[in-house]
């Protein structure tokens, strides 16, 4: 019995643990991954460039930390201020805008706060706060979370002062959507995560379309001067592909339920 276990374990250890192809690591945000776009792009990247891109799906905060520590070769995030601070500290070589999508406010189909009548996002945020309808916040220091906080402060509100109706769950987009669905609450989500979300039960988009809600994704290679093991050449190869026409077509044509999610806006 013990001997059999040993043989199995040894066999398991001898089997290749890592792929042998050219492999690089990129930290991406949960919202990007949940959109399903990565499942389309990764095989194409592999086919066109031979690159095996391993995705670490984390919040923007951790993505930046992974880049600082040199644990990934590049990051793809959407939180401009944090990205610029990252570049200023010398952790990344440069910032390349790739595409954008947009955020939406999701809530119970009955629309208890009357968001349908909101003029703009500031108005919508104010309406939710004054009606004190249940609201789920990511609360995980991610790009989406930071965006949500900026929307509150744009309406001269401070999330720190909110009462019991405001629930910071400290979780990824999908888990937060699950929570909102469970409690019949409101939540700010990126459109992609929402469309791909399987458990919509009783929720609907209540507010969308304000340009403030646009969400720019940028690609940043980690600085090889800080970490000499970083595969900067592979990161640049990936960047070349991400701004190529092939990527443009794939990104712009990516649809869920007939809806376009991302708009390619990289400049050559």
């Amino acid at each position: 019995m013990i001997r059999k276990l040993f043989i199995a374990a040894t066999a398991a250890a001898i089997l290749p643990l890592d792929a042998v192809a050219e492999t690089m690591r990129m930290a991406v945000t949960t919202s990007f991954h949940n959109s399903g776009l990565s499942d389309i792009l990764l095989p194409e990247i592999k086919a066109d460039t031979g690159l095996d891109v391993q995705l670490l799906v984390v919040g923007t905060g951790q993505a930046l930390r992974l880049g600082e520590a040199g644990d990934v070769d590049a990051i793809l995030v959407h939180s401009r201020k944090a990205e610029e601070a990252f570049l200023e500290a010398g952790f990344g070589t440069h910032r390349r805008e790739i595409m954008y999508n947009d955020f939406i406010i999701v809530g119970p189909e009955g629309d208890p706060a009357g968001l349908a009548g909101a003029e703009n996002i500031t108005d919508a945020m104010t309406k939710m706060a004054s009606a004190e309808v249940a609201f789920v916040s990511r609360g995980d220091d991610s790009g989406t979370h930071k965006k949500e906080l900026s929307l509150w402060s744009g309406a001269n509100l401070d999330a720190a002062d909110f009462g019991d109706w405001y629930n910071a769950v400290g979780a990824g987009m999908g888990a937060a959507l699950n929570t909102a669905s469970g409690m019949g609450g409101h939540i700010m989500s990126d459109r992609a995560s929402w469309l791909n979300f399987g458990n919509k039960a009783g929720l609907a988009i209540l507010f969308e379309g304000d340009p403030v809600l646009f969400n720019q994704y940028a690609f940043i290679p980690v600085n090889p001067e800080k970490h000499d093991h970083v595969k900067n050449d592979l990161a640049l190869k990936l960047e070349d592909w991400l701004v190529s026409d092939a990527a443009k077509t794939l990104i712009n044509d990516y649809k869920i339920n007939g809806e376009t999610l991302f708009t390619f806006n990289a400049t050559k």
Binding site: L5, A13, L55, G198, H229
Partner: protein, 234 residues
């Protein structure tokens, strides 16, 4: 409310059709945890036996430390291994973070104290039982240890199985050190967490069934070992 039956049906479909992702993830889980159990047993079983037989000054302290390590929160183990293996950490040069090796290291740290503790208890009991006989028969130290390990093989295998049970169902530590990378470090538990996060319960449930099956297997095996211990013939 999400229809659980739909989830179960599609989960069973994935199982019956031997879905490729499901198989791959299951095999990787087994690969990581079996390796961790092998290493953990190679360290934990002799350590437990040694603590049971040898008298030395700090034995009680050593046992107390061992039992304390058994209660280590896996997620904290994960965090510490992460910091150690990170490129900016002391072992960063090996580039092990986000590899199955890192997951094995974390699991070894989590399950070795458990295996050692159970082994210690089992061998201590057996040693108390055999003490007079083995002394009377004038056995050498080596003969004693070999006899105790052989005659204690059932509880020792139970110890390894307990380690396997703890390792295979663990999510906190391997999520942190493995990074849950598709086709590289995604295992049963982290995949379930991810798929649940996506609200896609079919694959999550399918993987959950595999996990439950593995847990049941461990329990049945433990139970069967206990039965043979009490049986008339060995």
């Amino acid at each position: 409310m999400y229809d659980i039956w739909d989830g179960i049906k599609s989960a069973l479909y994935l199982l019956v059709t031997l879905d490729r992702d499901l198989i791959e993830i299951t095999l990787r889980s087994l690969q990581v945890t079996l390796m961790a159990v092998a290493i953990g047993s190679a360290i934990g079983l002799p350590l437990g036996a040694w603590l049971a037989i040898r008298r030395f000054r700090y034995r009680r302290v050593a046992i107390a430390v061992l039992n304390a390590f058994m209660g280590l929160p896996p997620v904290v183990v994960g965090l510490i291994v992460y910091l150690l293996l990170s490129r900016s950490g002391p072992f960063g040069v090996f580039g092990l973070l986000f590899t199955p090796t890192a997951m094995i290291i974390a699991q070894v740290i989590i399950i070795t104290p458990l295996i050692a503790s159970i082994a210690h208890q089992a061998i201590r009991e057996l040693w108390a039982e055999y003490h007079d006989l083995l002394i009377s028969l004038n056995t050498s130290k080596g003969q004693r240890i070999r006899t105790l390990i052989w005659d204690g093989r059932r509880p020792l295998i139970t110890a390894s199985l307990a380690g396997f049970g703890r390792g295979i169902g663990e999510v906190g530590a391997i999520m942190i050190v493995g990074g849950n990378i598709d086709h590289a470090t995604r295992v049963l538990t982290t995949a379930i967490a991810l798929e649940t996060g996506k609200g896609d319960f079919a694959l999550a449930l399918g993987l959950g069934f595999v996990l439950i099956f593995l847990s049941l297997f461990v329990n049945f095996a433990t139970h069967a070992l206990g039965r043979t211990e009490r049986g008339r013939f060995w």
